[in-house]
């Protein structure tokens, strides 16, 4: 079920009203599980089998780890969890990619292999919930959290519908206790949730979906377009993917707040970053912290000298690329990001810019503007490979962009620029806030009118094609 669908408009109020009319936490968790399974099964009921297998395996392994003191046996149990979760992910997401890559690799040595690929449907959001359940088992294994005996709260933690298919990827430490405590409706949290939902829909339906045809037109015809058009194409894609994904996250966080559940922040105005390091602290925060805690630090993290740190950064970015999709374009996207990130490690500046840009001023300084534009420029180059169908398309797109070919259809794309301008202005003015549109208005009715106008803007200017969120494919 898509957030931007009519069925969800009916689904959410029904679940909300039933949830708060139920008397016990357990009953509410059962409702969340049922609602989440309906939400997820809406795409294809067969997908439910995978999430149930993954959930039950990790629940059981968690309990077995509780009573197990032998390090070896604990390790075997962890490996079992990794085998189940990564096995499902590997089979459904990467099987065909690895077979194709193997066949192509063998061809380089003149060996003709005949491995058959399978027609496998990629279950929506498998990368997200797999990482979420894995984090539970790893944390239990590391004794950072105690395993839960409460099956219902665990199932609710894994399947919680707002963040099930595209995150934020939640840690058990943050989310699980929220399903175990007694829930009380919080008016303030629910109102803040509604503001986030509104802003999320604005980003998704007004900005991302309206930019989508322009992006599609440029990336489908890049061979015939000029440099200025190609630049606009990738700029639009940068904003499309940001609004699409952060819009989903905002809606998810907002919906969770209606159930008195607080999810982690996933985006923090990433395009106002002054360096690549800052960008990655602000973009898809839940995934990056996941990689930091479960891959980067186990690899040695920032210990052991710069060559080792550089190696670790490369590994994390390549794995991150592969997490996004079984395609060389994503691997190259990861490599490029690593390449852009490395200078800050060498210079020791990767922990700079921990604050918000222009903290105490309305306008950024000239230096900050240059830093933001150059960071955006580098990130935009990586997006070319993220968006391209093949590695070769991405390469040709980039080459053509730097050939400074004349642009004949520039005007056709410039008319999409107001969407980007509008977003940048709103986000800049609200960059210190939890939600960019959350401005303090003392008069109750003026406040209502302000949000009503934003809602009207969404209703009038939204694209109504029910376009799926880009990150569902991951």
């Amino acid at each position: 079920m898509l957030f931007n669908s009519f069925s969800f408009v009916l689904f959410l109020p029904i679940v909300f009203l039933i949830y708060w009319s139920l008397p016990t936490t357990r009953a509410r968790n059962v409702l969340i599980i049922l609602a989440s399974y309906i939400f997820y099964g809406w795409w294809d009921p067969r997908f439910l089998t995978l999430i149930i297998i993954s959930s039950l395996a990790d629940y059981g392994i968690g309990l077995l780890l509780l009573n197990q003191n032998s390090t070896n046996k604990r390790r075997i149990l962890l490996l079992c969890s990794l085998f189940v979760n990564l096995g499902l992910l590997g089979f459904f997401k990467y099987y065909n990619f690895f077979i194709d890559s193997l066949v192509e690799g063998l061809l380089l040595f003149d060996i003709e292999a005949n491995f058959k690929t399978l027609s496998i449907i990629l279950p929506v959001g498998i990368s997200f919930y797999t990482f979420q359940t894995l984090s539970y088992t790893i944390d239990v294994y590391r004794k950072k959290i105690s395993p839960t005996r409460d099956l219902f709260s665990f199932l609710a933690y894994v399947s919680f519908f707002p963040q099930l298919v595209a995150g934020p990827i939640e840690r058990a430490k943050n989310l699980l206790p929220q399903f175990q405590r007694e829930q009380k409706f919080s008016y303030a949290l629910a109102i803040s949730g509604c503001k986030l939902i509104l802003w999320g829909f604005f980003k998704k339906m007004v900005i991302a979906d309206n930019l989508s045809p322009a992006v599609e037109a440029v990336f489908s015809n890049y061979q015939t377009l000029g440099s200025a058009e190609l630049i606009l194409g990738v700029v639009f894609f940068a904003f499309q993917i940001y609004c699409d994904f952060s819009g989903y996250s905002d809606i998810a966080i907002g919906i969770a707040r209606l159930f008195n559940i607080t999810l982690s922040k996933n985006f923090n105005f990433p395009y106002f970053s002054r360096s690549i390091g800052e960008f990655w602290r602000r973009w898809h925060i839940s995934l990056n912290t996941w990689f930091r805690d479960y891959l980067y630090i186990p690899l040695g993290g920032s210990e052991g000298g710069k060559p080792k740190v550089i190696r670790n950064v490369f590994i994390v970015f390549v794995v991150s690329g592969l997490w996004h999709g079984a395609n060389l374009t994503f691997v190259f996207w990861g490599l490029l990001n690593a390449l852009f990130f490395i200078p800050s490690i060498i210079l020791g500046s990767n922990r700079k810019h921990l604050d918000t840009v222009a903290e105490n001023s309305v306008v950024a300084s000239f230096q900050e503007i240059i830093q933001m534009i150059s960071t955006f420029g580098l990130i935009a180059i990586t997006w070319i490979f993220f968006r391209s169908e093949t590695w070769s398309d991405g390469w040709q797109y980039t080459s053509r962009l730097f050939q400074f070919a004349p642009s004949a259809n520039l005007f056709g794309l410039l008319i999409y620029l107001p969407y980007v301008g509008l977003l940048v202005i709103i986000e800049w003015l609200g960059r210190h806030k939890d939600c960019a549109i959350d401005h303090k208005i003392d008069n109750l009715w003026l406040g209502r009118i302000y949000y009503a106008i934003i809602a009207i803007f969404v209703i009038l200017f939204a694209s109504y094609d029910e376009q799926a969120f880009i990150y569902f494919q991951f």
Binding site: A190, I449, I456
Partner: protein, 359 residues
């Protein structure tokens, strides 16, 4: 919780009210009532905002009723200049406007302005002798699918109750009720369509050199050159469908015609002091085929005897010199030909020796 639900309710009501208010202030005026062909914009070129805000005239001297062919083929300004400059001529030709809708529009106008037709000449388009021959009681409230917005501005509250009663399903009843009462509901689809088209046209106008079509921008006619080929395909398809449809139909009878929409229009016009005159718009050869089948010829004979019985005058336009090249989209004559046809009609109308057409 109660406070949250109450706030949510207020928010939804406020948003819906603002949408409705904005729609009533802007969309209804600029779109919904602007599609009313009886408003009579002064020129057949692009309708200006000033024209839209004009109220309907309280009486007319000449009124043209028909399809978008009439909108394309009669220039009301030119018609006035041929007669008298201070005459009021309304061209109420409109695409997808059923005979019933014309009847409702006219009768509602007469309710508001009883002298609207006093001494007026009303020219009713008659393509092939079958249009508006539907049974009045059964088909008064007919509208083309997805074109309910055309009839709604002409439906009085008592008409509306009848319109709802005639809908088959509950969802159709709910739909027509919402269309009638909610400006936002009825205009939002057009806002969406025009928002998309605006960008599309803006892009095309700047990045492509579109040849300007020789069609009048009136009566719902699509004048965009890129849409012409689609219109031509639709014309050929519709011609085939209509010929097939004729095979299943009985020949008209005088009794049927006595209770047809055209008969009720004639009565309405006559009773309100006007004179109804029939005329045929020139057609592209593909459409002429529809009127040349044996079924159509038989119908024409019946229709002719009914017209004679009623004493209704027919202007013969068969001698008007026109070729297929004069129909840029097959449906409508070009602007160039419109001037000639308007003069031709005026000349035939005033001629004492107008020959009897072949009905």
């Amino acid at each position: 919780m109660k406070k949250f639900l109450l706030q949510s309710f207020y928010f939804i009501i406020l948003t819906a009210s603002l949408l409705e208010l904005g729609s009533r202030l802007m969309m209804d005026k600029t779109y919904f009532y602007a599609i009313d062909p009886y408003k009579g914009p002064s020129a057949l070129t692009d309708v200006s905002i000033a024209d839209i805000y004009k109220s309907s005239p309280s009486s007319v001297d000449y009124l043209f009723i028909g399809s978008s062919r009439v909108a394309a083929g009669i220039n009301s300004d030119q018609w006035n200049s041929i007669h008298r400059e201070d005459n009021i001529t309304i061209n109420a030709g409109r695409g997808f406007f059923s005979g019933g809708s014309h009847y409702l529009a006219l009768s509602n106008l007469l309710d508001n302005y009883p002298d609207y037709l006093k001494g007026a000449k009303v020219y009713l388009e008659l393509p092939g002798g079958v249009i508006y021959a539907e049974n009045f009681d059964d088909h008064l409230y007919d509208y083309y699918p997805s074109m309910s917005h055309l009839v709604l501005p002409h439906v009085s509250f008592s008409n509306f109750r009848e319109l709802v009663a005639r809908q088959n399903t509950l969802s159709d009843k709910a739909n027509i009720t919402l269309l009638y009462f909610s400006s936002f509901y009825r205009t939002f689809p057009f806002f969406k369509e025009y928002k998309g088209r605006f960008i599309d046209r803006l892009v095309k106008s700047r990045i492509q050199t579109q040849p300007k079509s020789d069609l009048a921008n009136a009566g719902g006619i699509k004048v965009n050159s890129s849409e012409l080929s689609q219109a031509k395909e639709r014309a050929l398809r519709m011609t085939e469908d209509r010929i097939k449809y004729q095979d299943e139909q009985e020949i008209l009878t005088l009794d049927q015609l006595n209770n047809s929409i055209v008969a009720h229009l004639a009565t309405l016009i006559r009773e309100n002091g006007g004179e109804m005159i029939l005329f045929e718009m020139p057609l592209h050869s593909s459409f002429q085929k529809v009127n040349q089948t044996s079924w159509a010829r038989e119908n024409s004979k019946v229709f002719k005897s009914w017209v004679d019985q009623e004493g209704i005058r027919i202007i013969d336009t068969s001698e008007f010199d026109i070729s297929d090249d004069d129909f840029p989209d097959y449906w409508h004559m070009s602007i160039t030909k419109r001037a000639e046809f308007t003069s031709f009609m005026a000349q035939r109308d005033t001629s004492d020796h107008a020959p009897s057409p072949n009905y």
